[in-house]
């Protein structure tokens, strides 16, 4: 259970850092293009989210690889698998299937809801141009939280 919690929360942190990195990059491109139109070349990039993302990713990779359930598994094989899945025995496999189903259902609710918010996007596009990035990340975070809570509830039953 500890593994599922740690891995789910790590994924959420990674998604948030990714969103801020992409938003920062998008903002840089927008400002640079605007400046270029007036004949000035400006390239200012907020490096902090990217740096945090890299540091967290490296720490998370080392920790996750060292604590992988199947110690015989090589890095190549391990790196293409979802680390949130814990299927040590048949009960855990069943719980994981149940939690994955719940996360899938959450997508079918959260994605249309966030799509509806795009009706109003033109109204706040100037104030929050990177909203689509955060909306997309929010659906992933919701799915992760649903997966984690369903897993914990089923495991402790």
């Amino acid at each position: 259970m500890k593994r599922v919690i740690i891995q789910s929360l790590s994924s959420i942190i990674l998604y948030i850092l990714m969103a801020f990195t992409i938003a920062s990059f998008a903002s840089t491109v927008t400002h640079s293009l605007a400046a270029l139109k007036s004949g000035v070349f400006v390239l200012e990039f907020n490096f902090l989210p990217f740096l945090l993302l890299i540091i967290f990713f490296v720490v998370w990779t080392i920790y996750s690889f060292r604590t992988r359930p199947n110690q015989q598994m090589g890095f190549g094989q391990w790196s293409v698998r979802m680390t949130e899945f814990s299927e040590v025995d048949e009960r855990e496999a069943l719980i994981t299937a149940k939690a994955t189903k719940a996360a899938y259902v959450s997508f079918s609710i959260s994605v249309p809801l966030f799509m509806l918010t795009f009706f109003f996007y033109p109204l706040f596009q100037t104030a929050w141009p990177t909203y689509p990035v955060f909306a997309l990340v929010s659906t992933l975070i919701i799915a992760n939280l649903v997966y984690m809570t369903t897993w914990i509830r089923a495991y402790t039953r």
Partner: protein
């Protein structure tokens, strides 16, 4: 129709801890705990492995509640 089992009783009779039984049948201790609480219905394979450990027929260990009434 819930499945009732005698795992706890047989485990005590065989002087096995939950961890011992879990290791013998290749599952986690948490699975044995859930099994004994009756909140988890094992697969046929796991039920047969448990039956093998206790040297009892599967139907002696696992019964559908309706049958026992």
């Amino acid at each position: 129709m819930p499945l009732v089992n005698r795992v706890k009783e047989l485990r005590a009779r065989h002087h096995l801890t939950q961890g011992d039984l879990a290791a013998k049948v290749g599952v986690t201790r948490q699975t044995i705990i859930s099994l004994e609480k009756g909140s988890y219905t094992p697969s046929l394979m796991l039920a047969m492995q448990i039956a093998r450990v206790f040297e009892e027929p599967v139907e002696f260990i696992f019964t559908i509640e309706e049958e026992t009434e």
